[in-house]
């Protein structure tokens, strides 16, 4: 059994790594800037160009990477526990691509200019609809294969709609932004995007926060969990809504970033003794860490224009996904 001691150690390690990576993220950009001058200009002296780059470009980008990554990691852990399926990540059950579709509809057809939160609202509704569709298609307690197939179908359909709508959008720039919505990007994130993302993600996190024990009960199977006092239909509704809130808000700013929600809970699960409630916080921290690392990688790659961050997460995530399948086969599942 995992003790509170090792859980604390895990959280401290992840926390330390996050602080170090965040500092690194402030140091690394497309251009080299003197950090001391930047810090001085930002917090002590007069505003100068280095201070502006630090406070207006690098800090918002770092925070959005951490928040969006944490959301994906956390929601991956939640969905995997709730559906009792190791592959039920936001990317695979359609919430990420659904959120991208919702965001695309609101942004390119003029709704996002009506009020600030129209954009994340579109993302939230899209995420909710896509997840529900997969859930209804696959059914409760669906086998891995059914869930994946339903996810593949909904993802393909949703991304096709994203592509179609961007082609039909009035803006001449829309078509060129297809890659961004499908792969995700943190380039040119500003404070504005941070404020757009924050309320929904925090609300989603808070709704998830108190459901750890019910998720633990679910590991005994649905009937046992019910008999032990878990109100399953309510739990399901609550968590679907929470995931939609958090993922919808994050993805409407970053685009659909894949694999983080799948990989992170898997890597951490053995370290927390396979207990869902203990997996939630480490998954959030691990997700933020991984996305931030991927984004630093993107900034370091020499390319004209930036590589999309989803390219990096997929390059790490897809081989891991294959490895998972091979492991599954070996253990005879």
């Amino acid at each position: 059994m995992i003790t509170a001691m090792t859980q604390h150690r895990l959280l401290f390690t992840l926390g330390g790594l996050i602080v170090l990576t965040a500092l690194l993220s402030l140091l690394i950009g497309s251009q080299a800037i003197p950090l001391m001058d930047a810090l001085h200009e930002s917090f002590v002296g007069e505003a100068g160009i280095y201070g502006l780059i630090l406070t207006e470009l690098r800090i918002p980008r770092t925070l959005v990477a951490l928040l969006a990554g944490a959301t994906l990691g956390l929601c991956g852990a939640v969905m995997q526990s709730l559906l009792r399926n190791p592959l039920a990540s936001p990317g695979l059950v359609g919430s990420a691509s659904g959120a991208a579709l919702g965001a695309v509809i609101t942004l390119y057809f003029g709704l996002a200019t009506l009020f600030t939160y129209a954009l994340p609202l579109g993302g939230i509704i899209g995420a909710l609809l896509a997840t529900l569709t997969v859930y209804l298609l696959a059914g409760r307690d669906a086998g891995t294969l059914t869930l994946i197939l339903a996810g593949v179908a909904v993802n393909a359909f949703t991304l096709a709609l994203v592509s179609l709508l961007l082609n039909l959008a009035p803006s001449p720039y829309a078509v060129q932004e297809i890659a961004l919505w499908m792969l995700g990007s943190l380039a040119n994130i500003s404070r504005n995007e941070l404020w757009i993302l924050l309320p929904g993600t925090l609300a989603g996190w808070m709704m998830i926060g108190r459901q750890g024990r019910s998720l633990d009960l679910l590991t005994f199977g649905e009937e046992t969990a019910s008999s032990m006092g878990a109100e399953l239909p309510r739990l399901r509704r609550r968590l679907f809504l929470a995931v939609a809130l958090a993922v919808g808000s994050a993805i409407s700013v970053t685009g659909a970033i894949g694999f983080i929600g799948l990989v992170v809970p898997h890597l951490l699960r053995p370290l927390v003794g396979y207990q869902p409630s203990r997996l939630l916080v480490p998954s959030a921290m691990g997700g933020g860490l991984l996305l931030l690392l991927a984004d630093i990688g993107v900034r370091l790659l020499p390319a004209q224009g930036e590589i999309k961050v989803g390219v990096v997460t997929a390059l790490i995530g897809a081989p891991f996904f294959l490895w998972l399948i091979i492991q599954d086969k070996r253990s005879g599942l």
Partner: protein, 275 residues
């Protein structure tokens, strides 16, 4: 000056013998050639221009184009006009050119270079080919007069300006925007750093160049998009002390032509107004 004109006339006489009658059914298949053709030719000489010549957002000659049949640069359309001259550009589809050549149609290719000199040459050559040399010289003269209204400035006195377009593109050496910035008395840090052409640059780089002004030029009727939202980044607003990005309509840059002089005037006004 008169010696130059004489030499030029002599040159023209050798290149295009006087026996060749001016063409009477000219077709153009690209906006850039449409514009120069409609400015230079007698309306009766023009058989067809491209559909883009009627586009309010990008064309300078909508009023002149409205009376002429339009084409979409399809070979069958072009041939149906039985043109005695097709005006083409370096961007014309090579397959179209190939077929025109095989079928024995005459073509005149514009160079579409990104400088006043290149614009002058294109005007002069096309005008001669159309038998409209005086109109060509008049058009060039108007452009030059317009340009002379902007006196040159010493390099050190020049403020810095950049073009920053949706998706983060800036204009370096060998672009119409750079030529216009120089003529209007601005320094373009992107060109000074050796950036060539029209390329995306990171926002951090834009910041480090510390421009005094940013110009932009959205294409077409714009809707909402991430590309356009990028221009509203708070970092840019603070960099420029909350003065807005100055918008110069895209139709001044989409093709090289005498309208460049008008764009130069706008850039010049912006510089003088800043003082």
């Amino acid at each position: 000056m008169s010696a130059m004109v004489t030499a030029l006339l002599l040159l023209l006489l050798t290149v295009f013998p006087a026996t060749a009658d001016p063409p009477q059914r000219v077709v153009s298949v690209n906006l850039c050639s449409d514009q120069l053709l409609l400015m230079l030719a007698d309306p009766r000489q023009v058989a067809s221009v491209s559909y883009l010549s009627r586009d309010l957002g990008s064309s300078f000659v909508v009023e002149l184009a409205i009376d002429h049949p339009i084409n979409h640069a399809q070979i069958e359309e072009v041939i149906s006009y039985q043109p005695d001259l097709v005006v083409t550009t370096p961007y014309t589809n090579p397959r179209l050119l190939n077929i025109l050549e095989k079928l024995g149609f005459k073509t005149h290719r514009l160079t579409l270079g990104h400088s006043v000199e290149a614009i002058t040459t294109d005007i002069r050559q096309l005008a001669a080919r159309l038998g409209q040399a005086p109109r060509g010289e008049a058009l060039i003269r108007t452009m030059q007069q317009r340009l002379q209204l902007t006196p040159s400035v010493r390099h050190v006195d020049r403020p810095k300006a950049l073009f920053y377009q949706p998706r983060g593109y800036t204009s370096g050496i060998d672009t119409l925007q750079n030529e216009a910035l120089q003529l209007a008395g601005w320094r373009n840090p992107a060109a000074e750093q050796g950036i060539v052409g029209y390329v995306p640059v990171p926002l951090e780089q834009i910041m480090l160049w510390q421009p005094d002004t940013l110009f932009t030029s959205n294409y077409g009727v714009s809707g909402d998009s991430l590309a356009e939202r990028q221009l509203e980044h708070p970092a840019l607003k603070r960099l420029l002390g909350h003065q807005p990005l100055l918008q110069i309509p895209y139709k001044y840059w989409i093709c090289p032509g005498p309208m460049l002089a008008e764009a130069v005037s706008m850039l010049y006004e912006a510089r003088v107004g800043k003082r």
